[in-house]
């Protein structure tokens, strides 16, 4: 079974530029997550989709970050404009559909390492 795919693996940009990351979840996984992992910290959830609807985006800095999952499969995460503090690894994860009272395991992709100069 293929895992979660992400691209690019690495990206270096200058502050105020824009950048986009792509994620392809495990086939059949209705739930997709984007996490930000700053060096020395655990991953922090940015946004969660169930199919093409947003479940939780409470920790997404909406003035500069946006994400979409138009057809309920692939997803893109965009930062515009980037700041120095956005330097981090951006992880995508997917799981089977979440139901109340049921916890599905999240499976992670390799991540995109972003460096903002």
């Amino acid at each position: 079974e293929a895992g979660v795919a992400q691209s690019p693996r690495y990206k270096i940009i200058e502050k105020r530029q824009s950048v986009a990351f792509w994620c392809n979840p495990i086939s059949g996984h209705a739930t997709l997550y984007w996490y930000q992992q700053i060096l020395g910290q655990g991953p922090k959830l940015l946004i969660q989709f169930q199919n093409n609807g947003v479940v939780d985006d409470s920790q997404l800095p909406k003035d500069r970050f946006s994400a979409e999952r138009l057809k309920g499969v692939d997803s893109t995460l965009k930062i515009q404009p980037a700041k120095l503090e956005d330097s981090a690894v951006y992880l995508c994860a997917s799981s089977l559909v979440e139901f109340p009272g049921r916890q599905e395991t999240q499976y992670f992709g390799p991540g995109t390492r972003l460096l903002v100069l």
Partner: protein, 116 residues
Amino acid sequence: AQSVAQPEDQVNVAEGNPLTVKCTYSVSGNPYLFWYVQYPNRGLQFLLKYITGDNLVKGSYGFEAEFNKSQTSFHLKKPSALVSDSALYFCAVRSTFTGGGNKLTFGTGTQLKVEL
């Protein structure tokens, strides 16, 4: 609010010795608990989870974890460490209380170093 504490930034152990990586949590209601491992330049790999039932959970690569409700702990253990176990380990929690959403909260990670 839910939280996870991993009190040790790094754990060193000799190969063949038992290892323990500590995790304590705080959550409203009952917890779902997870352990993930991260190798350099890789994403997180799922090791094991506690949902309900037996307090001792067995997972991948010979790892196990014990859920202790009174101590709000979920320590990761392995009877005999391997050099290849050297990696960054994350504990994560979410509440079974559906009104709180289903967001996983991760600890800051513990670097495990297994030496010959």
